[in-house]
């Protein structure tokens, strides 16, 4: 046996791409994320839902390295990346979007995406790859526009393009459908499904648009007050009394 017990994961094996293991994060007296655990496999789309303030974005911030966990562990692609810096998380293959969009306003759409593309590529290659990603998310005609001048819909799409720019194995989508109209939502659903299927990309999506989550996700994780209260396929989740209670309130 070799010294590397954490050898790269075989794609066919059942070893998950990401293992979230008992993560806890407190803000003062509030436990924003309380012992949350679940796994994500390559190519799998996981929906992360729950009422406002349930700790969904906090969990994302821990996974993407923007926040430190107080306890628990995070494994990704055979590595322990618990409390790694954000840049390190990007390097191992975690791309993310921000719920409150963060365009790099003085750069063009193409340059925004190029920042991430430079992570694994030379300047010349990054330029081409960034252009390709921008085309693929349907922003080709906005390629050289300053991102500060974009509409909200385009800014959301730019978030998606940037998450893809680091050549990720998983992307974390934080409410990228919020504020979009029906046809824009349909288009985005189509895009996300495409990326998951064609690129074997795993996706965790926080989404309040239940129609979208139910149609996309193979697995749904429900958070309430920082605690995971349910995890199952969409059809079961919608009938789960605990989930309904969390969203609508219960009698007792």
């Amino acid at each position: 046996m070799t010294a590397t017990s954490f050898s790269p994961v075989n794609k066919d094996s059942a070893v998950p791409l990401m293992q979230i293991d008992n993560l806890v994060r407190r803000f003062g007296g509030l436990v924003a994320v309380n012992q949350v655990s679940f796994n994500v496999h390559s190519g799998e789309i996981v929906g992360l839902i729950g009422p406002n303030g349930a700790g969904k974005t906090t969990l994302f911030n821990i996974i993407s390295g923007h926040l430190k966990a107080d306890s628990g562990r995070l494994f990704f692609d055979g590595q322990d990346i618990t409390n790694a810096r954000a840049a390190k998380c990007a390097r191992v293959g975690i791309g993310r979007t921000f719920q409150i969009v963060k365009p790099l306003t003085t750069l063009t759409v193409h340059e925004n995406v190029m920042v991430g593309a430079l992570l694994n590529n030379s300047l010349k290659v990054a330029r081409e790859k960034a252009a390709h990603i921008v085309e693929r998310v349907g922003m080709g005609d906005l390629m050289h526009r300053l991102s500060g001048s974009l509409t909200l819909e385009s800014r959301k799409r730019l978030e998606l393009a940037r998450a893809l720019s680091v050549e990720p194995k998983i992307i974390l989508l934080d409410e990228i459908l919020a504020g979009l109209n029906a046809s824009e939502v349909e288009e985005s659903i189509h895009l996300i499904r495409n990326f998951a299927q064609e690129d074997k990309l795993a996706v965790i999506m926080i989404e309040h648009n239940l129609h979208a989550v139910m149609s996309l996700a193979q697995k749904i994780v429900v958070l309430d007050y920082g605690v995971k209260i349910a995890q199952d396929v969409p059809e079961v989740i919608v009938r789960d009394p605990k989930v309904v209670a969390a969203y609508l309130g219960s009698d007792d």
């Binding site: 993407s64 954000a86 840049a87 790099l104 340059e111 300047l123 940037r162 680091v166």
Partner: protein
């Protein structure tokens, strides 16, 4: 052309270079340092002390000065990188003040407030020249070196990373940009170039005392020229210095004292109101329309 005008040309180039070095940190990286005169002064004092006291060639002094300045810059700015925006600026403001106090009181080395006079022995080896034209040439080269480095950074990976970090640090980090590494690199480059400016100043003026190199006014003036010319543009600092240094020279020659500062302040106010992105920035935006 007489020495008076040549002096203004030399100072224009020198200020353009110093402001250009600051522009790298502040204009591109969003690190609005108000501590540049600390780097400037350390560069100037290192060469001056080594040359005047120990008779060591200023060329060696230049090398030592750059090394000392760069390592000091790393030591003092690293803790400040945790601070964002105005808090970073305020923290950096402290360093020139500390350096000035140190230079004033470390008599055995700096000769305190009486200052250091460098012996005038013109030769290329001493980097001291009889003709001011030599200084014009040298300061011009320095300015062009700063411009060249800025252009190179502007077009490359480092420039994109710096701007990304300036626009939104969280977003930049999510795409793999290591903020501390990028900030350290640009601070070291900026400090090194500013230190070379200090070396040049010492060899040109041939006299140093603590306020003449460590004064906060120098840090502020360095920043102002880039703001006037255009922050985050390669030519901004040069344009800023081309406008302001001769203006300052002319005003002090013809008016002096109060009226000079009044007009100087008026020009500043006008630029901020009419062209908030600076001359180059406003011109570029106007051309794009």
């Amino acid at each position: 052309m007489n020495d008076y005008y040549l002096n203004i040309i030399v100072m224009t180039f020198l200020w353009a270079a110093l402001s250009g070095a600051w522009n790298l940190m502040a204009g591109y990286g969003g690190l609005v340092s108000l501590g540049q005169s600390a780097f400037f002064g350390i560069g100037a004092y290192t060469t001056a002390v080594l040359y005047a006291t120990f008779g060591i060639s200023p060329w060696l002094g230049l090398v030592f000065g750059v090394l000392l300045t760069t390592s000091t810059a790393v030591l003092i700015s690293w803790p400040c990188f945790r601070l964002r925006g105005a808090f970073f600026s305020l923290a950096t403001l402290v360093f020139p003040i500390v350096m000035e106090i140190l230079a004033n009181n470390w008599n055995s080395v700096t000769r305190g407030s009486s200052g250091i006079a460098l012996p005038f022995k013109p030769s290329l080896e001493n980097f001291i020249f009889e003709s001011r034209w030599a200084y014009v040439l040298a300061s011009f080269v320095l300015m062009m070196v700063v411009l060249g480095i800025t252009q190179w950074i502007h077009r490359g990976r480092l420039g994109l990373y710096l701007i990304a970090m300036r626009d939104d640090q969280d977003a930049a980090e999510s795409m793999g940009v290591e903020p501390v590494r990028i900030k350290l690199i640009i601070t070291m480059i900026s400090a090194a170039l500013t230190s070379v400016g200090g070396f040049f100043y010492a060899q040109y003026i041939l006299f140093l005392d603590p306020p003449s190199v460590f004064s906060i006014n120098i840090s502020v003036q360095i920043a102002l020229f880039s703001l006037i010319g255009g922050l985050g543009t390669p030519f901004g600092p040069i344009v800023g210095s081309l406008i302001m240094t001769p203006l300052d020279g002319a005003l002090s020659a013809f008016l002096g004292g109060g009226p000079r500062l009044l007009i100087y302040g008026g020009v500043l106010l006008a630029v901020v109101l009419v062209a908030p992105q600076g001359v180059v920035g406003t011109y570029t935006a106007w051309r794009k329309k």
